[in-house]
Amino acid sequence: MRFQLNTIIRTIFLCLLAATCSMWLAVPVCCAQPKAAPEYQLKAAFLYNLLQFIEWPEQAFKDAGSPLVICIYDDKAAGSAFDSYRSEKIRNRQLVFRNYDDMQAGLDCHILFINTQDRKALADISARATGRSILTIGEADGCARLGCIINFFTAENRLRFEINPEAAKRAGLKLSSEILKVARIVAEK
C-alpha cells in the first residue's frame, strides 16, 4: 500500500496526540482537590457535611449512645457511595445506614434520603415522615415545595441544595445559619 503525504502527516499528528495522552496517563493529575465527582459520592459528601449543622431534638434518640440512622430509599442507585461513611460519627453518635424497607418495618430513621424522581413514592414517603423528627432529603424537582426539608438540585453542573425551613421547624430540627446561608430557601406556598 502506498501512503500518501497527508496520511503520513495525519499519522504523525495522531502519534503525537497519543504520546501526549500517554504522558497524562503516566502522571496522575496534579490537583489535591478533585474537580468532579460521581453524583452520589458528591451527595454523600454533602449529606455528611450538612449533618454537622443540624440538631435533632433530644427525644429523637433513645439515649446519648444511640446512633444516628440514615435510611436510603433506593440504596441500589446510591451504590457504594456511602460506604466510606459507615464508621463515621456525628456529635458522638455513630452513623448507621439502613434502607427504606427497614423504616417501613418500623425501625427508626433520623435522616431519610429519598433518592427518587417518582412523585408517587415521594408523596407516600414524605407523608410517612411528617410529624416525626426525620430529616427528609430529596433530589426531585419541587420536592422541597412538597415538604422535603432539604432538596438537591444541580446548577451549572454543580450540586446545590434548597431548604424548606417550615418543614424543618415542623420536624423540630434546628438548622444552623451556616447552611441556610448557602442554600436556596423555599417557601411552601
Binding site: R10, R119, L146
Partner: protein
C-alpha cells in the same frame, strides 16, 4: 456489506482508533486493580472538603430525569450541558454529530442535512425528523434556523425511530427535543464571542434577572457569520441573527407558567432540498439560489400539578416565517418568490397513575397550518395557499407487570386531516430489567407521514431553466409530475431491539438494532399524457404510493469515565438501506446510495488541570457512493482554559486531518468544508 471490510481496514481510518484503543489498555487494568465501581480514595478526598468546596465540584453522571430517560424502551441519546460546552460546536447540527444513528452532513456554509436511519439528503427535516423546542414543534426550515444560543440549552434528547406515541405528530424517523433552561438557571450575564480562520465568527449574549419572587426573565441575542466552506455558488455573507427571551413564572408549587419567543434571520443558506423533501434531484444545478429566511416563534405554556402522580401541561404557540430564493441577488421568480407560513398550535397533555400499575399519558393537539408557497425553483403548489387543520390525539399506558423488572408500554396516536382522513399509529414497547445493570427492550411501531401538503398539492418539474443573462430559445422540460388522483400517507413499520448495560458505574454500553419497512412511499408512476408544444414536449407523470423499501442497522454507543478527569465516548453506526422507486422516478432513484454505510465517532474529554480541558472528537463517515464522495475521517480538538472564575477561553480546531472535504452535495455542488481554527471567549457574570 462484506465489501466494506477491506475499507475499514484502511490504515487512515483504523490508525486513530488503534492508538486510542492502545491508550485504553493500561487504564483499564488499573481500574480493575482498584476493584469496585468507584475509586475509594475519591470518597475520602470528598470527605475532607467543606460545603463551599463541595459546591465547586462538578457532578459527573446524569441526573435522575436523564436516568429515567436512559431506561426508556426506545433508542434515546441525551446531549447534556457538559457535552454541549465541550463539543466545540458553534451550531446545533454540528452538535448532533455525536449522536449515534444520526447522519449529519454539512452541505454549505450554514446548510446541513440531518437524518436518522437513512434518507439523508432527501426526506430529512421537513417530514421525517420532528424537531421540538420545549415541546413545541418547529417547522422544517428550523433545522437551519433554530440555532439557539447553545449555552441556553438544558439538554437535547434525540430519539431515533418512530417517536413513541407521545413524541410529536411528525415523528416518523426520529425526534430531536431541545429543552432550554429555566430562566432562573440563566440568571446574570453571559457574553460570548468567537472568531475563526475563515470568515466565520459569532457573538452573543444573554442576561437574566429576577423580576419578583418566582418570576424570572432571560433575554439574549446571537449573531453568526459562516465560513470554512468553499462555495462555488454566490452565497455572499451567509449570516445568522437571532434574538430570544424566556420568562418563567412559578405561581405556586402546583402551577408554572412559561413564555418564550424568538426571532431569527438566516441569510444565505440554501435549503431547498429540505423544503421539497422527497424531491431530491441530482441535476438541480440552476437552482442553487441564495435563501433568505426569517422566522418568529412565540409560545406560552402552563403546567399544573394536581397531585404527586398527576399533572398536565397546556401549550399554545405560534410560528410565522417567510423565505425567498435569490439568484445572484435577484429573486428566482420575481412575481412570486415569496413563501410564507403561519402555524397555530394548541396542545394539551395529561399524565396520571391508575390503580398504581398504570402510568397513563394522553393528549390532544390542534394545529392549523396556513401557508403560501410561491417561488420554489422547480416546484409549484396548487393551490398555492392553503389552510389546513391537523387534529391529533394520543393515549399511552405504561403497565408495570413486575415491579422494577418488566413493563409494557402500549399506545397509539390518532390523526385526522383532509389529506389522510383518519390514521392510527400504534406502538408497543417491552422493557425488561433483569438486574439494575442490565436493560433489554423491544419495540414494534407503525407510523405514517400524514402531513401531505408538500405532496398532495405539488407540481414538480424536473427540467432546466435559462440562466439569467443567458439567451435561451428552448426552455426544455424533462418531465412534470403531480398527484392526479389521491395519495395516501407514507408508512413505516419499525422493529427495534435494544440492550443497555452498566457493568461498572463508570462504564455504559447501549446497543440498538432495527429493521424498518417502508410502505406506500411516494414515487413517480405512469405517464398520464404528453403535452405537445411546437418546439418541445412535456411528459406528465402521476405521483403514486408505489415505492417500498427496507433498511436495517445497528447503533452502539459506549461511555467510559476512565478516571475522574477523563471521559471517553465512542459510537458506531451501521446502516443498510434499500428503496425500490418506480421506473420513471427521477427523484428517489439513487436515494439508497446517499447514506454512509458506516459511521464511527470517538470523543475524549480530558481535564488536564482543574482549569484546563483538552477535548478531541474523531469522526469517520463512510463514502457516499450515490454522489461519488469519499469517506472521511475528521478530527476536532478543543482546548479550554478558565484563567479566572467566570471566564472561559477556548480554541477549537475543526477538520484538522484534511485540507478540505465534501460531506454531501448541495444541489449539484461539491462544497468543500475546510480546515478551520476558532478562538472563543465566554464571560459569565
Amino acid at each position: 456489506m462484506t465489501l466494506q471490510a477491506p475499507r475499514l481496514l484502511h490504515a487512515s481510518f483504523l490508525l486513530p482508533f488503534m492508538i486510542f484503543a492502545l491508550l485504553l489498555l493500561p487504564v483499564h487494568n488499573e481500574s480493575r486493580a482498584n476493584d469496585g465501581d468507584q475509586p475509594v480514595d475519591l470518597s475520602t478526598e470528598l470527605k475532607k472538603l467543606d460545603l463551599s468546596q463541595l459546591m465547586d465540584i462538578e457532578v459527573i453522571s446524569v441526573s435522575k430525569k436523564l436516568e429515567k430517560l436512559s431506561r426508556a424502551p426506545a433508542a434515546i441519546f441525551v446531549i447534556t450541558q457538559e457535552d454541549i460546552r465541550r463539543s466545540g460546536a458553534t451550531s446545533l447540527p454540528e452538535l448532533l454529530r455525536m449522536v449515534p444513528g444520526l447522519q449529519v452532513a454539512r452541505k454549505g456554509p450554514n446548510t446541513w442535512s440531518i437524518s436518522t436511519r437513512g434518507l439523508l439528503g432527501a426526506r430529512e427535516g421537513a417530514d421525517m425528523i420532528d424537531l421540538r423546542v420545549d415541546g413545541a414543534y418547529l417547522p422544517a426550515t428550523s433545522v437551519q434556523t433554530v440555532d439557539i444560543v447553545l449555552g441556553n440549552i438544558e439538554r437535547i434528547e434525540v430519539i431515533r425511530g418512530p417517536g413513541a406515541t407521545v413524541w410529536g405528530t411528525k415523528a416518523v424517523s426520529g425526534v430531536i427535543n431541545i429543552i432550554t433552561k429555566h430562566a432562573k438557571d440563566t440568571q446574570g450575564g453571559l457574553v460570548t464571542a468567537a472568531a475563526g480562520s475563515g470568515e466565520e465568527g459569532f457573538g452573543g449574549g444573554r442576561y437574566g434577572l429576577k423580576l419578583q419572587e418566582g418570576m424570572y426573565l432571560t433575554a439574549g441575542a446571537k449573531y453568526q457569520q459562516f465560513g470554512a466552506v468553499d462555495s462555488a455558488v454566490h452565497l455572499r455573507d451567509p449570516q445568522y441573527k437571532q434574538g430570544s427571551f424566556r420568562l418563567d413564572w412559578d405561581l405556586s408549587a402546583a402551577d408554572r407558567l412559561m413564555f418564550e419567543g424568538s426571532y431569527t434571520n438566516n441569510l444565505g443558506g440554501s435549503f431547498e432540498n429540505l423544503l421539497v423533501g422527497s424531491f431530491y434531484l441530482p441535476t438541480m444545478e440552476r437552482y442553487t439560489a441564495r435563501t433568505d429566511a426569517e422566522a418568529l416563534h412565540l409560545m406560552g405554556r402552563w403546567e399544573h400539578t394536581f397531585s404527586p402522580t398527576s399533572d398536565m401541561a397546556l401549550k399554545v404557540y405560534y410560528d410565522q416565517g417567510n423565505f425567498t430564493y435569490n439568484y445572484q441577488g435577484e429573486p428566482v421568480d420575481p412575481d412570486d418568490s415569496h413563501n410564507r407560513y403561519r402555524y397555530y398550535d394548541i396542545d394539551f397533555q395529561h399524565k396520571f397513575n391508575l390503580m398504581s400499575r398504570n402510568d397513563i399519558v394522553w393528549g390532544a393537539e390542534l394545529r392549523i397550518e396556513d401557508d403560501t408557497m410561491g417561488g420554489f425553483p422547480m416546484i409549484s403548489f396548487a393551490p398555492a395557499s392553503r389552510t389546513e387543520k391537523y387534529y391529533s390525539g394520543f393515549m399511552q399506558d405504561e403497565i408495570t407487570i413486575v415491579e422494577n423488572r418488566l413493563s409494557l408500554t402500549v399506545g397509539s396516536k390518532f390523526e385526522y386531516n383532509s389529506f389522510c382522513h383518519f390514521q392510527a399509529d400504534p406502538s408497543a414497547r417491552l422493557l425488561w430489567t433483569p438486574h439494575h445493570q442490565h436493560t433489554f427492550w423491544l419495540a414494534v411501531s407503525r407510523t405514517a407521514r400524514t402531513d401531505l401538503r408538500g405532496d398532495h398539492d405539488l407540481n414538480f418539474t424536473a427540467g432546466t431553466l435559462p440562466k439569467p443573462g443567458q439567451f435561451h430559445i428552448l426552455r426544455t422540460m424533462l418531465l412534470q409530475a403531480r398527484n392526479y388522483g389521491s395519495i395516501d400517507p407514507e408508512k413505516l413499520t419499525s422493529y427495534e431491539a435494544g440492550y443497555r448495560v452498566q457493568p461498572a458505574s463508570a462504564f455504559t454500553l447501549d446497543i440498538t438494532a432495527f429493521v424498518n419497512h417502508y410502505d406506500q412511499f411516494l414515487t413517480t408512476g405512469d405517464r398520464v399524457y404528453v403535452e405537445r408544444h411546437p418546439r418541445y414536449f412535456v411528459p406528465h407523470y402521476d405521483y403514486v404510493n408505489n415505492m417500498d423499501g427496507k433498511s436495517c442497522g445497528i447503533e452502539a454507543v459506549a461511555t467510559w469515565q476512565a478516571a475522574p478527569w477523563w471521559k471517553l465516548q465512542s459510537s458506531y453506526t451501521h446502516l443498510h438501506f434499500n428503496l425500490h422507486p418506480g421506473p420513471h422516478d427521477a427523484t428517489n432513484e439513487g436515494l439508497k446510495e446517499l447514506n454512509p454505510k458506516n459511521q464511527c465517532t470517538l470523543r475524549s474529554l480530558i481535564d488536564i488541570t482543574r482549569d484546563i480541558e483538552l477535548d478531541a472528537n474523531l469522526y469517520f463517515t463512510d463514502r457516499i457512493s450515490g454522489q461519488d464522495l469519499r469517506s472521511y475521517t475528521d478530527l476536532m480538538v478543543r482546548l479550554g482554559w478558565r484563567p479566572v472564575k467566570g471566564v472561559e477561553l477556548s480554541l477549537v480546531g475543526a477538520n484538522l486531518l484534511r485540507e478540505g472535504h465534501t460531506e454531501l452535495m448541495m444541489a449539484d455542488r461539491k462544497n468543500e468544508i475546510r480546515r478551520s481554527v476558532i478562538g472563543k471567549v465566554t464571560w459569565t457574570f
